[in-house]
Symmetry: C2
Subunit: 140 residues, 2 copies
């Protein structure tokens, strides 16, 4: 395997760890996969921007407290690695339960990772709901 | 000015050039600010993923053909520069006209740039509509 391929695999593994942490609904697991400093950013689907680990962490606690169960299948569409930075674009296939309500949805995610001491840590998570097919007409 | 500040300013300038190219509704201007190769990615608000310059270019042509005028005020919320990669998170304040219809909207954008020969070129543009305030409860 080439070094580039090994690097991409490490990034995809980090991306997968993020979704396993999400499924765990355990903030301690989530703390393991993020760079937990002031530089991190997070955009949940339809939300505004959250900046810094304190606010990002609070959002996960809130989501976890309102969710009974959640499962993710991340379909990786693109991986880029450039020096100490990597980003993954994936479609999240999500099944979730909030109280008695089950919910299935698809969300597009850009996850940016930074390499710190040979670990790829999440520094930016941007998600958006998918409303229409790519071939549709539309405007920004 | 420190080197870091100068670098951030160069990235913000590249981000601004992208929005001026968007306002121009001229595909030639857009070609100047993107890395026009197979590695680029683009997610318009509510759309699926577009991969590679050919598809991304087509989407801009389609948007420009359906838009009479457009003006952007990008409010930069965050800039990160890590080696040859930088990303900007901003709120796009958009006024647009399509035929007789005027439209105002706010969109959150992550713009990823790659440094190529001292130019910062756009390689990934991910946008999402804003539905609710950051403090609201919600789920991925």
């Amino acid at each position: 395997m080439s070094d580039d391929m090994a690097m991409e695999e490490a990034v995809v593994a980090a991306n997968d760890r993020f979704y396993r942490a999400f499924e765990s609904l355990d903030i301690k697991e989530m703390e393991e996969v993020w760079s937990t400093d002031g530089s991190v950013q997070c955009i949940h689907p339809g939300w505004g921007l959250l900046s810094g680990w304190a606010d990002v962490r609070n959002s996960w606690v809130r989501i976890f407290n309102n969710t009974s169960s959640m499962s993710f299948v991340p379909h990786v569409l693109h991986v880029s690695v450039e020096g100490p930075v990597a980003w993954v674009v994936c479609v999240e296939d999500i099944d979730s339960r909030h109280g008695d309500t089950e919910h299935n949805s698809q969300v597009l995610a850009t996850n940016v990772f930074k390499r710190v001491d040979d670990r790829w840590l999440l520094v930016h998570h941007h998600t958006s709901p998918i409303f229409r097919a790519t071939e549709s007409e539309g405007n920004e």
